[in-house]
């Protein structure tokens, strides 16, 4: 959910672009982290771990922990909390190390 009105920060920037999450278009603000757009759209599971397959979502939010890695425009292991969103970007849930899509 977006915080459109804020008592101190005022109004937020409007969503003006779309990115594709596992093929579905979701609205985003140009340049915001991909993870922010996904969270705003209610997406919380960003990847599944290699060994147990358990889901992971954002954890540190500043590029330290790697929990938010996804496949972005075909590139696996992209930290979505620090990667800016651009119009038309394709973002996919990553399974394990995301090798599959690299070799497709």
């Amino acid at each position: 959910m977006r915080v459109h009105e804020h008592p101190i920060l005022g109004q937020s920037e409007p969503e003006s672009i779309s990115i594709y999450f596992d093929g579905k278009p979701i609205p985003a603000v140009e340049g915001e982290p991909i993870a922010a757009a996904l969270i705003a759209a209610g997406v919380r599971v960003l990847r599944h771990t290699e060994k147990s397959g358990r889901g992971r979502g954002i954890f540190c939010g500043i590029g330290r922990c790697n929990d938010c890695k996804m496949i972005v425009d075909g590139v696996p292991n992209t930290r979505t909390c620090v990667t800016p969103a651009h119009d038309g970007m394709r973002v996919e849930t990553q399974y394990g190390l995301g090798r599959g899509s690299c070799h497709e």
Partner: protein
Amino acid sequence: MNKAQIAVIGAGPAGLSAALEAARAGAQVTVIDENRKPGGQLFKQIHKFFGSRQHQAGTRGFAIGQGLLRDCEELGVSVQLGYPALGIFPDGRVVFNTAQGVRSLFAQRIILATGANENNLYFEGSDLPGVMTAGAAQTMINEHRVLPGQRVLMVGTGNVGLIISYQLLQAGAEVVALVEAAPQIGGYAVHASKLRRAGVPIYTSRTIHRAIGEKTVEGVELVALNEHFQPVPGTGEILCADTVCMAVGLSPMVELAALAGCQMTHIPALGGTIPLHDKNLCTTNPMVYVAGDIAGVEEASTAIEEGRLAGIAAARSLGLGDDGRQQAVQERLLALRSGEFGAKRQQAKEDILRTFKEAMA
């Protein structure tokens, strides 16, 4: 960009302040930071700062950040963003990554202002999506303007936990409770009472036992702790929550200082392992200075003053600027480290000084 008199690593409040003072003294300064945006954590701080007017009390963090950036630009400080520092060589070479590959910068003095990492806790379900650091939630609400969840449990009641809980309320989330393992609240009473007035319960001697949920957090189980911090059987209580935020302390990011051969000490009151430093923030490697949370976790206002001090001192060691300014900054630091909470940090800082002197003797 392959030479600088002074290289500053980290463009947060400490690093920018260090760069400013060094540039004011006439040094040629380059700042590098791994983030694409400067300011460190300052731009997420939407609350007004405490302290006296000299410490910019009453000013919100992001406004302080904007001021620092403007001054840096005016003084011709080169701020290079998106470059994670990889290491430091004994000859003063700072190695960092760029989109074009690994590059280096030769500097006569290096000021490390790398900040701190958030600590975390392990419990059943702590890997579920919805469990995150308090800083992650703060980044999402204040910087990116999205709510990471609707019903939040905050773990930890230091100032970070208290302030971010209030900011979550401001952003429209519900904070279901704060839990604190210790028998008393860790942070300032003013912050805690704002939350209480808003009807948010703060439970001491209690912690999170587990996060419950199939794919993401759907609930939390709390448990009471005895005086030995052990769970009391039969006290489990389940709350409905979709987000768990952890505000359980910060640890200085000392890796680069370790690579530079700086001797370390361990001071729990300041966050753990810290590079030894003298009163001007020079480490046991005379080329390397530290400032801000890497020199002991405190607050943005102390980070700014420490940055200034390190900037002035590093420039002085190269024969630039004059001594006059140092004293005034040291006095302001002393003022920031007074009072009930500050005195402990002042004591810890004095312990570091003593250990530094022993190490250099």
